[in-house]
């Protein structure tokens, strides 16, 4: 059930646009809470709460640097979700490539009949 909790927590963390924007910003490199709060109209405590959700989900890590707490993306945080979505994507695409062939064959047959 560990994997389930992990996926649920990851999806909950990703369900918020501000948190996705924070992740997108961190994809460019480490940033302090102040730097992360800058582009948003929400308060710094609100940003701190988002950061806590992302950290609890294992998506980001925070280190202590004097009075600052810079954040960066955690490696492996999206693993549980990625693994399932990768599997689904590949299984579907394999089927749909076969469907492409089925459709092309039928289309071809119709063309030769007319």
């Amino acid at each position: 059930m560990q994997a389930q909790r992990s996926l649920d927590v990851t999806l909950a963390a990703l369900s918020d646009p501000t948190r996705r924007a924070i992740l997108a910003r961190l994809a460019k490199g480490e940033a302090t809470v102040n730097e992360l709060a800058e582009p948003f109209t929400v308060s710094q405590p609100a940003i701190s709460r988002h950061i806590k959700v992302l950290a609890d989900a294992g998506l980001i890590v925070q280190r202590v640097d004097g009075t600052k707490r810079p954040c960066r993306l955690a490696s492996g945080g999206l693993a549980a979700l990625d693994e399932y979505l990768d599997m689904l994507r590949n299984a579907l695409e394999r089927n749909y490539q076969r469907l492409d062939q089925v459709l092309a064959k039928r289309q071809g047959r119709r063309d030769t009949q007319t």
Binding site: A12, L23, E93, L99, Q107
Partner: protein
């Protein structure tokens, strides 16, 4: 390049989009006619679907049985809720692995786009037990972790 896009919608849904070089009538039929379904809805290479029942009417029964040719296999049953040919299919399905997985309600739409079709399929994210059972049936075969973590973030983002 893959023509398929797959995005999560909130915590509950997965939305898959794929384009086909055929009109909606043909793509819809390939989803409803058992003889055609058996040619493509197969999963990993080497698997076949010896049993394919698909009653194309609302309330119609669905039963697919797959085999890996080596004594392994699993089945899926379901019911068609609503049909609007050739634009929309609403159905529920569950896999038997062999215990039935929770019902998954799936809405599939086919929209004409030029000479082709845009298919959109919206389904529920399965729970962990279902995912593990799916992986155990061999669906992970050929799995590639082919896309970068950051690309997955941006595609899922819609920031």
């Amino acid at each position: 390049m893959s023509k398929l896009t797959l995005e999560t919608e909130g915590e509950t849904f997965v939305v898959v989009k794929r384009r086909f070089e055929a009109p909606p009538e043909a793509v819809y039929r390939a989803h409803m006619d058992p003889e055609l379904i058996q040619q493509w809805l197969l999963g990993p290479d080497g698997w076949t679907m010896p049993v394919c029942i698909n009653e194309a009417k609302s309330g119609g029964k669905i039963r697919y049985e797959w085999s890996d040719g080596k004594g392994g296999g699993f089945s899926l049953t379901g019911e068609i809720i609503e049909l609007d040919a050739p634009h929309r299919i609403v159905h529920v399905e569950r896999m038997h692995l062999p215990d039935p997985t929770p019902d998954n309600r799936i809405v599939t739409t086919f929209t004409a786009e030029g000479s082709g079709t845009l298919m959109t399929m919206r389904m529920t994210l399965p729970d962990a037990a279902t995912r593990e059972a799916m992986l155990a049936t061999g669906m992970e075969h050929g799995m590639e972790a082919s896309y970068a973590r950051l690309e997955s973030l941006s595609s899922r983002g819609g920031v």
